[in-house]
Symmetry: C2
Subunit: 309 residues, 2 copies
């Protein structure tokens, strides 16, 4: 199955305790695409300026990423610069220049409108709604968002939440949206809007799935993060988690509860590689056997007793 | 198998967002004993004052807890009072009155000296060493400690760490001991002293095992915490985790890698019950079917694919 993603394509400048890069390839749609394209064909909806290097375009094309929906507009590409301290869980944004992204309106090429899997990366919820209106009968829609939209556009965000199947958020975002410090209560509130599952990303603590089971009770799945002695640059971890997650679903063609659990492990695997180097450098040469090998390791990380399938 | 524990027997006064209790039964040795006694006989080494209620003694005896090593000394029992805010992960200590604990020197009755499993709860590392000197050929020794001893008695603590098999610490303590924010590096440093495993308690994020495998590489096991909509009082979570952990090992008589993993789940199960009510109130009426039921739930929490044993 193919996957459609709408989100930012950016040039990032990032400082971490391990180094510094300037104007490297970034953006939620880009990170997602590079990760998901390990598994399945990806279609990008986004915008870049005329300064966007043809080398980046070639790289994305080489990964089987369809750029028919990537508009090129007179002006500069979206730029983000940020810094991570020793707490690698939170970035301090130094500067955001929206540039051509400021007036972006997603337009889906005809060839995109029947894509079965959709990822609404972290952008203005009004634009996320705009994309959903242009899509016909998707099989599964997943959404990411951030504190900025929860604070500034909660109504529009709530409207999108009502229309999606899976919500990917980090811990602080789930708590902020629901206005409670208890994650169980927070995810319960989001699930009450309609989504079948909330996946909470917890950084070095892994990811947790809160989903509606057959009964009224919540069903849980907890995945650890891959233990790493060194994290060079956490940028893109969340978007490549989503890429591995939806990529796996696209590859297998299944979206049932079991596939969702395995997809979460794939998301964790891909994200763990992403943070080993700056920008998407580690993903450029990441091979399928490496992904499969780490997936096997995850099976052992939590195993303590046989479970009947 | 029997388990010996040395630690505090206390009267606690605790405030949380959910209520307040005064002079209730507390202390690391007490919490541990009540939890572990669900699984196996426990022998306590500790001290109380003449104010310690016979009702507490009767309660512990009713749980098959051997109190031959519990000294009663003229004066007041150790008292601790603390407060938890909405972040239930860290207690603010309001007052500590050591009372009879200030001059405590552990003395093991003859009947205790060949106990196969030993838990050195969080007390002065010199006292922990004192206990080890009185024990003959234990099969497994586990240790807990805290920031106070890491800061004030690091040399003595390091000497005990060299002599124990399993170290149970929370995240902040592991980082503090090793002087690094990376947990993998921190546990590696503790393992280099001799212990075969470090179990890092991560509160609402569960617990992680870092152990030496056959090769030089570390081996990992990650257990989530049981998801709770409400935590009334986190006091004793760590000590009852240790109680469920060593209790399970004592009950099964095995201390191999597989038993250790299952024991960590039992620790997580018992700790999850502890925090549902103040003091050890929830443990007083906790039944084996409840423990077994939650253990079964944990099997599903992390399951995504069959693993060959």
């Amino acid at each position: 199955m193919s996957i459609l993603v709408v989100g930012s394509v950016a040039l990032d400048s990032v400082q971490t305790p391990f180094g510094k890069v300037d104007n490297v390839l970034g953006g939620s749609a880009t990170y997602f695409s590079v990760a998901a394209s390990l598994y399945a064909p990806v279609r990008v909806v986004g915008v870049v300026g005329t300064d966007f290097s043809p080398a980046h375009v070639d790289f994305l094309r080489s990964r089987n990423v369809d750029l028919a929906g990537l508009q090129t507009v007179e002006g500069q590409t979206f730029r983000w610069s940020g810094r991570y301290g020793h707490d690698l869980n939170t970035a301090e944004t130094l500067e955001t220049r929206l540039n051509v992204f400021a007036t972006f309106r997603p337009q889906l090429p005809q060839s995109y409108r029947q894509t079965p899997l959709v990822f609404l990366a972290n952008i203005d919820p009004d634009l996320q709604l705009d994309v959903l209106r242009q899509i016909k009968h998707p099989r599964l829609v997943a959404l990411d968002t951030m504190n900025f939209w929860i604070k500034g556009k909660k109504d529009a965000l709530t409207e999108v939440l009502r229309k999606v199947d899976i919500v990917l958020v980090n811990e602080a975002e789930a708590r902020q949206y629901a206005g409670t410090s208890n994650l169980l209560q927070a995810t319960h509130e989001i699930l009450a809007l309609g989504p079948r599952a909330v996946i909470v990303k917890k950084g070095e603590y892994g990811a947790a799935l809160y989903s509606k089971g057959d009964s009224a009770a919540l069903s849980f799945f907890f995945a650890p993060a891959y233990p790493l002695a060194e994290i060079k640059d956490p940028t893109g971890a969340g978007d490549t988690f989503a890429g591995g997650f939806l990529g796996y679903l696209a590859k297998t063609g299944a979206v049932d509860a079991r596939a969702i659990r395995r997809a979460i492990i794939h998301g964790s695997v891909v994200a763990s590689f992403t943070v080993e180097d700056f920008s998407m450098d580690r993903l450029r040469n990441l091979t399928w056997p490496e992904v499969a090998g780490r997936y096997e390791e995850f099976k052992r990380f939590t195993y303590f007793e046989k479970v009947e399938d």
